[in-house]
Symmetry: C2
Subunit: 462 residues, 2 copies
C-alpha cells in the first residue's frame, strides 16, 4: 500500500487524518458484542475520504486500486457486526457527503448511498410514499449501508427481507478493477452481488428502492398475562394479510424495565406485543389483542399529545434498539439472532424460553419469509463468558433454532454458514486485488477454512 501516492492522487477529495477522528470513523456498533469488542477494539484505518459526488468516489476507488490501498466503505456506521471496520487499515470511504435524494417516482425513489433513511422519507412522504422497510436506526442509518449490511427490519412483516426479489429495484456500483473503475447498473438477481456483501464486492454509488404507501401509523402495546398468549397474538397479527402493519414485536416481561419511557405503561410481570399499524387498522389490532386475552396498555392515537411527545416511536423499541436500550442500562447484556422455523414457531419460542429463563429474555420480531409467517428472535443475553455464549448458541441449534451469530464479523459466520458463490465469483472480477473490506469474506481469504472454529483475520492475531 502506497499511502503517500494515494494522497496525491486524491488531493481534490475531502479527507481526514486526525487520529481520533479516523479511529471514530473506523468503528461501527460492533460493541453490541463483547466478543467483537475484544477482537476489534484496535482496528483503525489510515485515512478517511469523503467524496462529494460520483466522480470523486470513482477517483478514490481508482487511486486505491492503483496504489493497492485497502478500502472499506462506510455509511453511518450503525451496523452491529464490525462490517464497516477496516481490518487491514488503509482507507475508509465515508459516504456521508453523497446523501442526495435524486428522484421520487411513482413507486420508487432514487438516492445516493449516503442518504439517511429518515431524510429520504422526508422527500417521498409528500407524494404519499415512504420506504418499505428500515432498521431501528432509521434516523441515523444510510440507505447504502442498509443495503450493504442489513437484512430487513421494520416493514419486513409485510414486505419480507431486503434481499427478497423486488425489495431493491436497482443498484449502481463501482468495481475495484482498475484506475478507472468499471461502473455497473445491477437489477434483478444481480443485485445480490452487492447487497449484504459488506462492501466486499463493490462500492454502491446509487440505489433505487421501491416505496410503500405513506399512511398515518399508530403504535400499540398490548399486555398479556403469559408469554405464550403474547406469542400467539404476535403470530396471528403477522398472518393477517388484510391488516396493514409495519412491525410486530413480542417481548417477555423481563424486557420492560429497559424501555424506560414506556415502562409506566407496561404492567409488571406481563409479556407484551408492540405493534405499528395503519391508523385505520389500529382498532382491529386492539380487538384481536383483547380476544387473545390481552389488554391494550398504550395506543398513540388516543394518547394526549404531551404524553405522546415524551415517547420514542415504537420502531425504536424494536429490532436492535431493544438490545441497545438494555445495553445502555446494563453493559453486561448482549444478544443473539435466532430463527424460529415454521411449523410450530410458538412451541420453539416457549421451549427456548423455558430452557434459558432469565439468562435470555425473549424478544421476537415477526416477518414474512418466503410467502409465509417467519419469526426471528433477538433475545437479550446476560453475558458471562464466551464459552457460555457458545453453549447458548449450541442449545438453540440443538433445538432446531438456527443462530445468525452477531458475534462474528465475517459474512459466512454471521448467517449464511457458507460462501455465497455468486458474490465470490463476482468478487474475482470486481476486486481482483482483494482490496475491498479485507477479512470479511472468508472464502476469499482462506478458501479451505474449516468452519468448525471461528475465523480470525491475520492482522488481528498479531
Amino acid at each position: 500500500m502506497d499511502l503517500a501516492a494515494l494522497k496525491i492522487d486524491i488531493a481534490e477529495v475531502p479527507t481526514e487524518e486526525n487520529p481520533q477522528l479516523v479511529l471514530q470513523k473506523s468503528r461501527d456498533f460492533y460493541w453490541y458484542s463483547p466478543v467483537l469488542k475484544r477482537q476489534l477494539d484496535s482496528v483503525k484505518a489510515d485515512i478517511v475520504a469523503r467524496p462529494r459526488n460520483e466522480d470523486e468516489l470513482l477517483l478514490v476507488v481508482g487511486a486505491c486500486f492503483k496504489n493497492e490501498v485497502p478500502l472499506t466503505v462506510r455509511g453511518s456506521g450503525t451496523g452491529n457486526y464490525g462490517q464497516a471496520m477496516p481490518l487491514a487499515g488503509g482507507l475508509v470511504l465515508d459516504l456521508c457527503n453523497m446523501n442526495r435524494v435524486i428522484e421520487v417516482k411513482n413507486g420508487t425513489v432514487v438516492a445516493e448511498p449516503g442518504a439517511i433513511l429518515a431524510d429520504i422519507d422526508k422527500v417521498t412522504r409528500p407524494t404519499g410514499q415512504e420506504l418499505r422497510m428500515f432498521p431501528s436506526t432509521y434516523h441515523t442509518a444510510s440507505i447504502g449501508g442498509f443495503i450493504a449490511g442489513g437484512s430487513g427490519g421494520v416493514g419486513s412483516v409485510r414486505w419480507g427481507g431486503l434481499r427478497d426479489v423486488g425489495n431493491i429495484v436497482r443498484v449502481k456500483m463501482a468495481a475495484m478493477d482498475g484506475s478507472i473503475p468499471t461502473v455497473l447498473d445491477l437489477s434483478g438477481r444481480d443485485i445480490n452481488r452487492v447487497s449484504h456483501a459488506y462492501g466486499t464486492t463493490g462500492v454502491i454509488t446509487e440505489v433505487e428502492m421501491p416505496l410503500a404507501p405513506a399512511v398515518e401509523w399508530v403504535d400499540l402495546i398490548t399486555a398479556f398475562p403469559t408469554l405464550e398468549a403474547a406469542v400467539h397474538h404476535g403470530e396471528a397479527l403477522a398472518a393477517a394479510d388484510g391488516l396493514l402493519l409495519k412491525n410486530v414485536a413480542v417481548m417477555d416481561a423481563a424486557i420492560a424495565p429497559y424501555l424506560r419511557r414506556h415502562k409506566p405503561y407496561l404492567p409488571d410481570g406481563e409479556a407484551f406485543v408492540v405493534t405499528i399499524a395503519a391508523s385505520f387498522a389500529a382498532g382491529d389490532v386492539a380487538a384481536l389483542g383483547k380476544r387473545a386475552g390481552g389488554r391494550v396498555v398504550l395506543r398513540t392515537d388516543t394518547l394526549e399529545a404531551e404524553a405522546r411527545s415524551r415517547l420514542p416511536p415504537a420502531f425504536e423499541l424494536s429490532w436492535n434498539h431493544t438490545t441497545l436500550r438494555a445495553l445502555r442500562m446494563d453493559p453486561d447484556i448482549t444478544y443473539l439472532q435466532v430463527l424460529y422455523p415454521q411449523p410450530g414457531i410458538a412451541g420453539k419460542v416457549l421451549k427456548m424460553s423455558a430452557l434459558l429463563g432469565e439468562e435470555a429474555p425473549t424478544h421476537l420480531e415477526f416477518v414474512r419469509f418466503d410467502g409465509a409467517v417467519g419469526c426471528f428472535g433477538l433475545p437479550l443475553v446476560r453475558f458471562t463468558t464466551e464459552e457460555r455464549l457458545d453453549e447458548i448458541i449450541a442449545l438453540h441449534e440443538d433445538n432446531g433454532c438456527p443462530i445468525f451469530n452477531p458475534h462474528r464479523y465475517t459474512l459466512e459466520e454471521g448467517g449464511m454458514k457458507q460462501t455465497d458463490p455468486l458474490q465470490l465469483g463476482f468478487k474475482r472480477r470486481s476486486d481482483p486485488k482483494g482490496l475491498l473490506n479485507p477479512g470479511k469474506m472468508i472464502a476469499w481469504d482462506d478458501p479451505d477454512f474449516d468452519y468448525g472454529r471461528p475465523y480470525l483475520f491475520p492482522s488481528l492475531s498479531a
Copy 2:
C-alpha cells in the same frame, strides 16, 4: 305482503314496474351455472325501487317491514350464484342511484353501496391510492354488491380475502326491524354480520374501504412447455413477499382459444401464467419466469400503444372473466370453485388435471390465505349432466380439494357448508320477519336441513 300499501308508502321513491325491466333487475349472472339457470329462470320480483339517498332507502326498508314485502338488495347484479335474485318475489332494492364517493382519506375511501368499483378508483387515484381488491367485473360491479356477495379477487394475492380482518374498515347498514329501521355502524369482527351475507341480515348503506398504493400496473403473460412448470412459477410469484403484484393466474393450454384477443400471443399447446405487476417489478417477474423455464410472450409495458389498445386488461382474463370468455364461445361450458390446500398445492393441481383432462381445463388464481400462499381453482367444466357435475365435485373432494359450489344459491351450500352462527344470530334481531332475501340462508328457513341433498326454496318447487 301488501304491495298496494307499499306503493303508497314509498310513492316519493323512484320505482319500476314494467315487467320486462323488473325481470331484468331480478337476475344476476346466475346463468354461469346450468343448474341455477334451470332452477331460477322464472324468478321475478313484483317491483323495483331505486332510492337516491339514505333517507329514501330507509323509507323503502321500513315500508317493506310494515307491509311484509320481501326485499332483495341488488348492486349491479354481477354475482354468479343467484344471490341477488328474489326467490319470494316482492321488492328488489336497486342501489344504482346511491353511487356517490363520499370522502377519500389517507388510507381509506368512504362510498355509497351502489358506487361502481372503477368509478371509486377514478376518484381515489389522483391521491395515489386505489382499492386493494376487486372482482374481474371491476368496470360494472358495485362496492356494496362486492362486499355482500364477493369473497376477494384481483388484489387477493397481496391482501388476502375480503372477509380477512382489515380489508373492510367500516360498514353502515339498515336493519329490517321496524317501520323506522335501526341503522348500525359496524367495524371489526361485527362487519362479518353483513359481509358475504347476500343481504340476508341487513342493507348496506355506506362503506369505508382501505386503499392500496396506486402504482402503474403492467400485464405479463409467460408461457411454459408444461402445466407443472407454470404452476410452480405461479406459486413462486405468490410467495414473493417483496414483489408488488396484483394478480397471478395460471391457465392450461386448453384455455388459450377462449382468450380471443390475447390468442395471437399464446403459443399452441403451452400453459401460461397471467401476472399483473407493478411496473418496477415487471422485470423481476419476467426474470423469474425465464429461470422457471418459461418465456415472456406479452408485456404491456413494451408493447406498442396500438396493439396494447386492442387488448382487454389482464384482470378481465382472470377469475370469473376466464369462465365468461369461454362461456360466450361455448355455451356448454361452466365452472367450479376449488381450494387446493397447502401443503403440496402443485401436486393436487396436477393430480386433478390428470384425472379430468380436457373435461376440466385447469385455471388457478393464487392468493394469500391466513398468512401463507393459497390457491383457488376455477376450472372450466365441459358440462354434460348435473349428475356428472356432481361426480366431478365428489372427485375433487375425495382428493382433498374442497369445492365451493357455484351451482347453489344458498350461503351454506356455496361454500361454508355450515351456518355462520354470527350471521344467523344477528338475523334474528335484524330481520325478525325474515323478509331479507328469503331462501338464501338455509339455517333460517329450515334449521334442521340435511345437507346431504340440495336445498330448494319452497316457491321454486311449485
